[in-house]
Symmetry: D4
Subunit: 147 residues, 8 copies
């Protein structure tokens, strides 16, 4: 059985690459999906559909174009990794976690110990909490290949 | 037809009371539900089930006890209002929004204009964005009682 | 058992009133729900949330506020009556019919014989086609009260 | 990940071909599905099952045979493009949009600006509105291949 | 808790009345629903929507009008009793049983021992097989009122 | 897109072979599935799990073993063909039709005109009624390969 | 909002009565449901449908009659309490927990600390673990009535 | 059609290997999935995510990591075999059976005759009860390859 893992959240560090490379090094049968992680491209996703004078509607259009991708990827994944970094609001990551929870889709949170308290509801619906990409890789290895 | 509206998010201002009182004053057929909004009581929700030495597990237990209530209330509501204030991480509010989105449950966001950008994914799946409780009351009045 | 019937479509003739009055005269245990049928109020449903300079976004906001009501009402109804008149595009009526079809929600179409051909897909998923409100009333009487 | 895109609506212009060719030119991993677009063949879809003397039943039989195809294709697609041209009632396109909305299936509308108002409910549930096939191609390219 | 029980199948003996009276005599908190059991009325259910020259379409229209009632009643029931008598094809009863099975709705079959073999698939998905209305009443009493 | 078609019902004539051969001759991208059609093998499906002294339980065990196959095949098919011959009760065919109807799975009935009346409920939920395997083949060809 | 709580598991101690009385004493708006807890009556639930010579089929019939009640009650409850005592296999309690988990229905386990290890999968999907009925009552009070 | 079969339960005898080898010998088109069956590895599944001082939380973390795998495998299987041996509590096996039942996923139980009574609820929702791996292999052969 091959697995599809959706990588949600923070786009300012290389945690995605670490997980992808780590799993590749172990030859795990996992395909990874993700939102577009180029910040400028993501913010401009709807620009081709016409200029907007209001920030709200520009953001709205781009967020919806991005949702075509992310909603589909989340619904098709077997597991999501939801990463919270130490900067920014990151409400989209918590939104993805809630989306997974409602679908009964398993997810693992990835965040440091200093944000345990504000993430308690998000962690409560998760199947694991990891603090490092290396821990995620180990869990993935166990889940997809242990006997 | 009577409506059930779930009030999610910020617990440090009186937006819930404003909405509830405003709807009561208009005699709208709406029942409101909500997480426990007493911060200390909410953090201690699981304490009766045994002491924990680790912060993570204390939070975990309380968050799950709270989830018994909030998950049920969200699944039974007709509409949710999701409030983001100007302080704190408020990831639980974004989580609730994602949960609603996955269930196809309509929700209205309530937040000021200065956090439009970080909330763009949450707003993209909402059916309305309001900036004041008074606007929410007007939308509710229209939705449940206009002819 | 009491029934909830959603009345969808044309707002320029009194077909809703005929059906509601006809069922009331027969004492049928039916509650009726409907979108807001005041055209101007419906078009302005989102205006209270802020002015828009673009027609598209004004319509968008109002349509979404209306959807809070109609989506909920359709999901809660036992049966929908979908009316197509002889004027206007009435794409919202066909949209409601498709929404019902996907949910497995029974619906009856109400339209004259001269638009059979363009409505063939909509009629194909319906459980009945009526040409007059009186026929709808008779079907409703049979469905909810025959022995 | 490969994508399946359902092309719904207008059959009198070559918008389908433009989108299919445009995506092929960019080597996008997309399969396209569609109702039968030969108007006469579509109207005669049920004729082989026996002659009908009434227009209603001839249309009914053909519409149902077509529904075997379109219902299955919509349920299996990842995304639908729903096109409204400047002629005809096109209720089947709005019906498909409502069907997608109820299933939580993302769709993009494709229509000119002069029919914004009658399509406001259909656009309100869409994830994007495009005015040209070229815009659709650009959105598709972004959604399926941006990093 | 009150229960809703759908009574499906044979309309030529008084098994429905026996069960309803038997449960009433025991004061069980059960509401019963059923298709229209007047054979002529049922066959004519669609006649008010216009005359048909073909038997197939007359039957088709009436069967669909009846389905508005029966589909809704089955989806709302807690339990169905599906009765097979010793005459007629009774394919509608087997159809109702399959409908219940797919919905995960519990049902009890009621038939004599001489048709065990042709009903084996229908019985295999049932939660009980009874041979007399009295047995059904006893099972109902146990299910809804035992401590 | 390839299609999976489930063939349900009568096992005493060669209608399955006619359809399968006819589609193969046209190179249609269709896989066919079916219950075990060897009558004796089907009746003995559960015998390996232990002897039964009662006819009811022998049938029960075999019917359930067969259900492992048929339930799975129906849930995975894109379309079912449900055949009613001129002999036997064939309640399993009507049961399969009801199962398909509740799942929203399209099906075509295949039967002669003399049993229109007892099959009216089953036909009412079907997307087509055919009288010959050749008609079924033509519908399949149209559905899966017309442009 | 009133709550429905299903009480699953052990029938040899008075934990059900303690919880019901404790909630009544606090005037909590909770209705309780439960399997039939009279052991002999439960084992004989199917006896009225005919004698069986084999233990397996006697148990099978009774278990299915009981399932009419328990399956319906679990599907209708808002929350389940699943009790494991210190005797017997109690596989039905674990079965109910798995059933709840698959439905996304919240449940609380109630068991002593010495069976933590064999119950780890059951506890992992629960929203709380309590060791005494008094703890359950306190959680219920918080969940249904805290502000 | 190829089948996926999930093997749940007892890990102390070689029943899994017998079934897998037996099906391989017959060239059946079946893929098998299973929880991790190395007892120590399974108990330690969460250890890499940090040490725990409490047995409950160590078990909890490991059980959730294991659930990422088992929940996904059960939801993707076509059929489960649930094995109960003669030792230990094996509540996880009963939990898996309940999970399958709620999803409408067929399962076969595998256990000896001396535990019929405590397994009656689990067997009542199963589609077959086998006493030996050889019987399971024969049922699988019939289900996936008989004509």
């Amino acid at each position: 059985m091959s697995w599809t893992v959706y990588l949600s959240g923070e786009i300012h560090t290389d945690w995605r690459e670490q997980i992808i490379e780590g799993c590749k090094a172990k030859n795990l049968p996992i395909s990874f999906t993700s939102a577009v992680t180029n910040h400028d491209a993501s913010d401009a996703a709807g620009d081709g559909l016409g200029e907007e004078s209001s920030n709200f509607w520009r953001d709205h259009k781009s967020a919806k174009v991005n949702a075509i991708r992310t909603k589909t990827q989340i619904e098709k994944c077997d597991l999501a990794i939801v990463r919270f970094g130490d900067k920014y609001k990151q409400w989209n990551a918590a939104f993805d976690a809630g989306f997974c929870a409602a679908l009964g889709k398993p997810y693992i949170t990835l965040h440091s110990a200093d944000i345990i308290h504000p993430l308690k509801e998000v962690d409560a619906a998760a199947l694991a909490w990891a603090q490092t990409p290396q821990q995620v890789i180990e869990v993935l290895e166990y889940v997809v290949s242990a006997q």
